[in-house]
């Protein structure tokens, strides 16, 4: 199954840094998502897009993770040559990550 099946997501941008939230629909999936969707896996998932460090913040009261990714927006929204210079679509790309069905 895909992360898309159990979580939703939104991307924000600040300069050349992108942040992606991953929010579970059902709190019972939070622990599983927290265990599997590590910063290392996110970094690997975005190979070729994100060139910098990926840091993860946990917000258990929201059932949410927040990934902050450095050097992710082609030099920054205002100078990037990318079609989606804000990286707005990255949220959907992250939800394409495969996640093992129940452990």
């Amino acid at each position: 199954m895909k992360l898309f099946d159990i979580a939703h997501s939104r991307t924000g941008d600040k300069g050349n840094i992108s942040n992606i939230s991953v929010i579970v629909y059902d709190q019972k999936d939070y622990e599983r998502v927290r265990e599997y969707v590590t910063p290392e896996r996110v970094r690997a998932h975005f190979k070729g897009i994100v060139n910098g460090e990926v840091v993860r913040y946990e917000i258990p009261t929201l059932g949410a993770l927040n990934f902050v990714m450095q050097d992710a927006l082609g030099g920054g929204v205002t100078r990037s040559l990318a079609l989606d210079a804000h990286g707005k679509c990255l949220a959907s790309a992250l939800l394409a990550m495969d996640i093992p069905a129940k452990n």
Binding site: H8, R10, G12, G15, K47, N66, L83
Partner: protein, 445 residues
């Protein structure tokens, strides 16, 4: 316990006009706030002001104020906006002109400026955060430098009876925080309350993004009536209790999940959300549905603010050229790839010097590189070549080399477009608070 209602009338400069009218007419609000100033918008506005000293405010200011000012005047709603952009005084004068033309009677308008620190930065050794270079080393290309000012000058303007506040660069949440401080007499170092008031601002600053806009996922996260999306209202009490809602009967929805997406939007460490007013802590935040489209917000705290203002620095960064053309049907992908190869070689042959070039296949890899490869092969592909150059002349040639694929490239290319533009890019710096002095001017209609 006293409660006020604050409406959010726009989430960005080009946002829809009618939701704010709906808020003013039916929202039972006390304040209407318009956030219309993106990072780069102010650099563009600065250029407009250089060309014409009566310009440099938001291009939709007139249209928005004509639509809402009569209703706000009638219903006693105060308006706060950063539509002043690079020229709050000219924006305020325009609002006075509109009020007079529409015969609205007495109106006190405050223009808040002082955020422009470009001249100070040109001779400053303040470091640019992204590059580490001193700001002075960029003096020849600097277009704008604006400090994100906090709520304080807006609170003062409200205390002096302003009905409308037009600002330049201020932090977005501060525009929502100012009426809360003013109405409830909060001390500006009551960090928990300022943190809560800042959470209100962060949830509302993007307009429809908390009421179901930018949220819909058909079949999983359905949102009704996005064509009539209602913009948000925050109900705030003196003790900092918060409810997020919208106009009854409007499109969209406010749920725990729409709030969760928005509170983390453009946030890095949720424990440390820095604004000019406070270090807000969203790490323990909770959202609870108390009725349909009424979400109670809890668990927000705050700590002391920092000693610096963030400054947004605009600079000239060359020229960007772009060309696109489509291929369809069997073999579309192969023809599109051939097209890219031809343009790549043409730019070499003709000696177009670019600092950076990018070759995309829209529908294949333009958004997500190889993270999401299409399968099966798409039946239509759009070629896109873009590059950044030192001269406009060279930037134009990028689009031209795509366009000439019509008669010189693969079979059946269609719909070529091209463009070239000057690039104003943004960086940031931290500037000492005491070097930024907000200025408030009042105009009376």
């Amino acid at each position: 316990m006293r409660t006020i209602r604050i409406g959010s009338g726009a989430g960005y400069s080009g946002d829809r006009i009618e939701p704010a009218v709906e808020l003013a007419e039916k929202g039972n609000i006390n304040y209407l706030v318009f956030e219309c100033l993106a990072e780069r918008t102010i650099a563009i506005a600065q250029n407009a002001k250089l060309n014409d000293p009566t310009k440099g405010y938001d291009p939709l200011l007139v249209e928005r104020f004509e639509a809402v000012l009569p209703i706000c005047k009638k219903n006693g709603i105060k308006i706060i906006t950063n539509m002043g952009a690079a020229n709050p005084q000219a924006g305020a004068a325009k609002v006075r002109e509109i009020a007079a033309r529409l015969g609205l009677g007495k109106l006190k308008i405050a223009a808040i400026s002082g955020d422009d620190v470009v001249e100070a930065l040109k001779v400053s050794d303040t470091k640019i955060l992204e590059t580490g270079a001193p700001a002075s080393s960029m003096a020849s290309v600097l277009v704008s430098a604006n400090a994100y000012v906090g709520a304080a000058p807006m609170v003062e303007a409200l205390a002096n009876g302003a009905d409308v506040i037009i600002t330049g660069r201020v932090a977005d949440p501060s525009m929502f925080l100012a009426p809360q401080i003013h109405e409830f007499g909060w001390s500006q170092d009551d960090w928990d309350k300022i943190g809560k008031g800042t959470a209100v601002g962060h949830l509302l600053e993007c307009g429809g993004q908390v009421t179901g806009g930018y949220y819909a996922e058909p079949g999983k996260k359905d949102v009704a009536d996005l064509a009539r999306l209602g913009f948000p209202i925050a109900e705030v009490s003196e003790d900092g209790a918060i409810v997020i809602t919208k106009v009854e009967g409007s499109g969209g929805k406010v749920t725990e999940h729409t709030c969760k997406e928005q509170i983390l939007y453009e946030v890095h460490d949720p424990k440390t959300y820095l604004t000019p007013d406070v270090t807000a802590d969203f790490s323990q935040i909770t959202f609870t549905e108390i009725a349909p489209n009424r979400i109670k917000v809890g668990g927000v705290t705050g700590r002391a603010r920092t000693d610096t203002f963030k400054v947004s620095v605009g600079y000239n960064d060359g020229y960007m050229g772009e060309g696109q053309i489509s291929y369809a049907g069997p073999g579309a992908l192969a023809r599109a790839q051939l097209a890219l190869d031809i343009v790549r070689e043409r730019l070499k042959i003709t000696g177009v010097k670019a600092n950076e070039l990018r070759f995309d296949l829209i529908g294949v890899n333009s958004i997500h590189a190889d993270v999401l490869a299409p399968a099966p092969e798409p039946t239509e592909v759009r070629v896109r070549v873009t590059g950044r150059c030192d001269s406009m002349k060279e930037a134009v040639r990028i689009g031209n080399e795509v366009e000439t694929l019509y008669t010189n490239g693969p079979a059946s290319g269609g719909g070529a477009t091209k463009s070239a533009k000057q690039v104003v890019a943004m960086l940031s710096a931290l500037f000492p608070r005491d070097k930024v002095v907000p200025v408030i001017e009042y105009l009376e209609a």
